[in-house]
């Protein structure tokens, strides 16, 4: 019996890259934009989608993809709206990938904008390109004002960073300016928005951003 070495050099994320490109091609051909909304559990991702549908549902044709380990609860919330919505139960996985999105993307061939809610997690979703046009990462002050510094990679690769629940900052002793500075230090090109979805403070900035995307 002799020992042999096989030089493999196989790209293990090639399949995700290929399917992300397929998703991107579909979106481009149909003239659709897609936003990948990432953030921790409870940061406000689903509420952001609900408020966006409330504010712009009459002028923009939305589609919604909801990713969660079990996404029945979020699906119940979004299906009250007059939009196409596809829930993706990831089961064991802590992130969406291009393959899961590829399964449902054809449904959205007549919409203007797809809002994709990723699984609540500031780590794994970063490594999986879905073929989206924009990456949005949402954090809330209740996660602690060091949350941006602790998860640099997701913020480095985001186009928009939303700091939510700012009306609670004082109560949880979170320094909003520190969060903004941490975000700018890692990613100076990102748009940073301070927001409070419950009171509506700062929400107009997001609405303007979304409106500009589809114009």
């Amino acid at each position: 019996m002799h020992k042999i070495e096989i030089e493999a050099e196989i790209d293990l994320i090639a399949e995700n890259k290929r399917l992300a490109e397929e998703n991107r091609k579909f979106l481009k051909e149909k003239g659709i934009k897609a936003i990948n909304i990432m953030g921790a559990i409870g940061s406000g991702k689903t509420l952001l989608i609900e408020k966006t549908l409330d504010a712009l549902g009459k002028e923009i044709k939305f589609g919604v993809i909801l990713g969660d380990v079990v996404c029945k609860a979020d699906h119940e919330r979004i299906k009250k709206y007059d939009v196409k919505v596809e829930p993706i139960n990831t089961g064991k996985e802590c992130h969406l990938d291009a393959h899961l999105v590829n399964h449902v993307i054809d449904v959205f061939d007549d919409v203007d904008l797809i809002l994709i809610e990723n699984v609540g997690n500031l780590v794994c979703p970063v490594d999986f390109d879905l073929g989206e046009n924009y990456r949005v990462t949402m954090v809330s002050v209740t996660e602690g004002d060091d949350v941006v510094g602790k998860h640099p990679e997701i913020f480095r690769l985001s186009d928009v960073i939303i700091i939510n629940k700012i009306s609670l900052a004082e109560a949880v002793e979170a320094n909003i300016e520190k969060m903004i500075q941490d975000a700018k230090k890692i990613n100076g090109r990102a748009i940073v928005m301070k927001m409070d979805l419950k009171t509506g403070e700062g929400f107009e900035d997001w609405i303007n951003f979304v409106r500009n995307l589809v114009e």
Binding site: M1, K3, E5, D11, L12, E93, K185, I186
Partner: protein, 110 residues
């Protein structure tokens, strides 16, 4: 877990193509900017390879370094940052995001 499963699926496919009888180790190279914990990857590899011809084989992990440097003054950084802390120039980040099945060590013949 999905990374571990990708290793197992691809290694088994290659073992079949090359008609490998007994595999001893698998070597992967992971980009240092990927959010993969090597110890967890090894643990997941054990679970994902269980019941296959890869069960009990060693997973060797190498790292691909990212090139992080200021485009103006060339200063190098260990972790990504947007602007250079010496000259204020933009800092470029190259590589460090790949995940490659590099090598399979096996024993063949009698």
């Amino acid at each position: 877990m999905s990374f571990a499963m990708a290793i197992v699926e691809n290694a088994l496919k290659m073992a079949e193509e090359k008609n490998l009888k007994r595999i001893e180790s698998i070597t992967v190279k992971i980009g240092e900017l990927l959010l993969i914990n090597p110890e967890q990857l090894k643990f997941c590899y054990q679970a994902a390879s269980s019941g296959t011809m890869l069960e009990g084989t060693e997973l060797k992990i190498e790292f691909e370094r990212a090139e992080i440097s200021c485009v103006s003054c060339g200063k190098k950084f260990k972790t990504p940052i947007y602007l250079c802390d010496s000259c204020g120039g933009f800092v470029s980040v190259q590589g460090g995001k790949n995940f490659v099945l590099k090598k399979i060590e096996a024993r063949n013949g009698i």
